[in-house]
């Protein structure tokens, strides 16, 4: 093994013939079961420590859940507002039914268009009367001054200007309007709401990871001696890591269960309260929010627990 020639060889530093103890599957499974048990035992044995870590993660997950719920509701609100954005095409007067139908078809054929509805001039007048608070306009004017219109709904709100442009070349269309600046402002607002919601949610997620990593660091520190001895007698990094990862995962999942229980109870209550106070405010129904939220919280809890444990273990295994 000695001598300069030997040194320059890119050989492994491990002697030949010495078994690397690649263990049998049975031994691996038995170790895995043992380590998982150790992690679970650690979770119970470090009762107070686990409580502290779980509480910290619960707090982070509650905030995260709040951010997610707000994001979803704001998104729904934004979609609702955007769905009301419409381009209106005024048709020329005195069209035959066939010509009106041709115009409707041509409008519906524009690729970005989701739906087209034909609003006859009589209906438009009635709407105007309602909007003015029930004034009898029909009696006041000798002839209905309003034209027939097509209300054209785009697939996506931001397609609206393009749809309006395309409508101008549809046959029998006299004029087109799509709210112009107002549309732009609504779109800017919904963009802002979405961006801010996503940013807050991401920030809450990051805070959860930091909080959990710190809480789990306490768990690792409490078992510093065990880690030292395991490494001294020749435990592999994975062997050392596994119980902590299990413990972190358990802490994350328990925290997720607590946070889920809270949101399952709180969301319906909050929705009922909000709708009492502001009946016109669109709020997502419980059944559309809670199951998905629970799934998110469980995933986030597991992720945060594992990542927190891995981060806090890193310096122990660095050597």
């Amino acid at each position: 093994m000695r001598g300069p020639a030997r040194l320059s060889e890119p050989s492994t530093a491990v002697p030949e013939g010495i078994p690397q103890a690649r263990p049998h599957l049975r031994a691996v499974l038995s170790s895995a079961a043992y380590l998982t048990g150790e992690g679970a035992v650690g979770f119970w044995r470090n009762g107070l420590m686990s409580m502290a870590a779980v509480s910290a993660i619960v707090a982070a997950l509650l905030a995260f859940g709040g951010a997610v719920v707000s994001l979803w509701n704001l998104e729904a609100l934004a979609l609702r507002v955007e769905a009301q954005l419409v381009a209106v095409a005024y048709l020329r007067e005195d069209l035959s039914p066939a010509q009106r139908e041709a115009a409707r078809r041509a409008a519906a054929a524009i690729p970005e268009v989701r739906a087209v509805s034909f609003v006859p001039r009589e209906q438009a007048l009635r709407r105007l009367e309602e909007a003015l608070g029930g004034v009898e306009l029909a009696a006041a004017v000798s002839k209905n001054p309003l034209p027939d219109t097509l209300e054209v709904y785009p697939n996506r709100a931001q397609d609206l200007p393009r749809v309006a442009e395309a409508l101008r070349s549809v046959p029998y269309v006299a004029d087109v309007t799509h709210g112009g600046d107002a549309t732009e402002r609504v779109l800017a607002l919904t963009r802002l709401v979405r961006g801010a919601g996503a940013a807050v949610t991401l920030a809450m997620g990051a805070v959860s990871v930091v909080v959990s990593a710190n809480a789990l660091r306490l768990t690792v520190l409490a078992r510093k001696e065990e880690v030292e001895i395991m490494r001294l007698v020749g435990a592999t990094s994975w062997f050392v890591r596994w119980p902590f990862l299990v413990e972190g995962l358990l802490q994350g999942l328990v925290a997720a269960a607590c946070a889920s229980a809270f949101w399952t109870a709180f969301y319906p209550w909050a929705v009922a309260r909000l709708q009492q106070a502001w009946p016109f405010l669109p709020v997502l129904p419980t059944l559309r929010v809670v199951p998905l939220l629970v799934a998110w919280l469980v995933a986030a809890g597991a992720f945060v627990g594992l990542l927190g444990a891995a981060v806090s273990l890193r310096r122990f295994l660095a050597k």
């Binding site: 093994m1 395991m230 490494r231 007698v233």
Partner: protein, 233 residues
């Protein structure tokens, strides 16, 4: 080749302290070696290089066929399974019994569960602690705690036992007890390297003595005493 071999080893700590300078040493399988020298001479550093708690700044370290100086971190556990290490402060887990402390070490290296009770019992019998298996470390005397830590070091049947001041915290009688135990373990074929300040045990046992001074090997005698005879100074 020797079981343990250091060739031209230098160890410089990041603080700038020179712990070892040009140390070359070889130990054959089955030897019993006392490492002596004043505090700060580099004895503990030398042991730490052997189980790769430290890496040499320069030079080569071979242990049980492993080229320790260029071992990747992932390979370290396999080296450590060839070694048992014992410390002055025992490093027993306070919340586990003697049995559990030894079993913990076996578990950590993936020993099949059905082998563990037999291995633990054998190790405890070897050190004479079979009656104290269910005691917690705080219920044991210092000598018993050190014997428990020796049992843990031996449970995995290593070829080499490294003992860093194992009698440092013990009274003279207990120290003697521990050293005779190490001597018995050596007779069963385990190579033992022990650092010590205990002049009495070294002078009575008359084994190989390697003396370090300021990080250099200044003496290496087969039937050595703790200190160089006056006439030779």
């Amino acid at each position: 080749m020797p079981l343990i071999e250091l060739v031209g080893v230098h160890k410089l700590y990041p603080s700038g302290r020179v712990a070892l300078q040009d140390v070359s040493l070889s130990v054959e399988e089955g030897e019993f070696v006392f490492l002596v020298g004043p505090t700060g001479a580099g004895k503990s550093t030398l042991l730490r290089l052997l189980y790769r708690d430290e890496v040499p700044t320069r030079g080569r370290v071979h242990v049980a066929g492993y080229e320790v100086h260029r071992l990747r971190p992932g390979q370290v556990p396999w080296l450590r399974r060839q070694l048992g290490v014992v410390f002055q402060d025992f490093k027993l887990l306070a919340d586990r019994t003697v049995y559990e402390n030894v079993a913990f070490a076996l578990r950590a290296v993936g020993t099949p569960p059905e082998w563990i009770p037999g291995r633990v019992r054998a190790a405890l019998e070897l050190v004479g602690l079979e009656d104290r298996a269910d005691a917690f470390p705080r219920q044991l005397s210092g000598g018993e705690q050190q014997r428990a830590s020796i049992a843990r070091a031996l449970a995995n049947r290593p070829r080499i036992l490294l003992a860093d001041e194992p009698t440092g915290n013990l009274d003279p009688d207990t120290s003697w007890e521990i050293v005779t135990l190490l001597s018995r373990i050596n007779l069963r074929g385990t190579t033992v390297i022990m650092t010590t300040h205990n002049k009495t045990v070294v002078d009575i046992l008359r084994r190989r003595v390697v003396e370090l001074h300021d990080g250099r090997v200044v003496r290496d005698e087969v039937w050595g005493r703790y200190a160089r005879p006056r006439a030779a100074l």
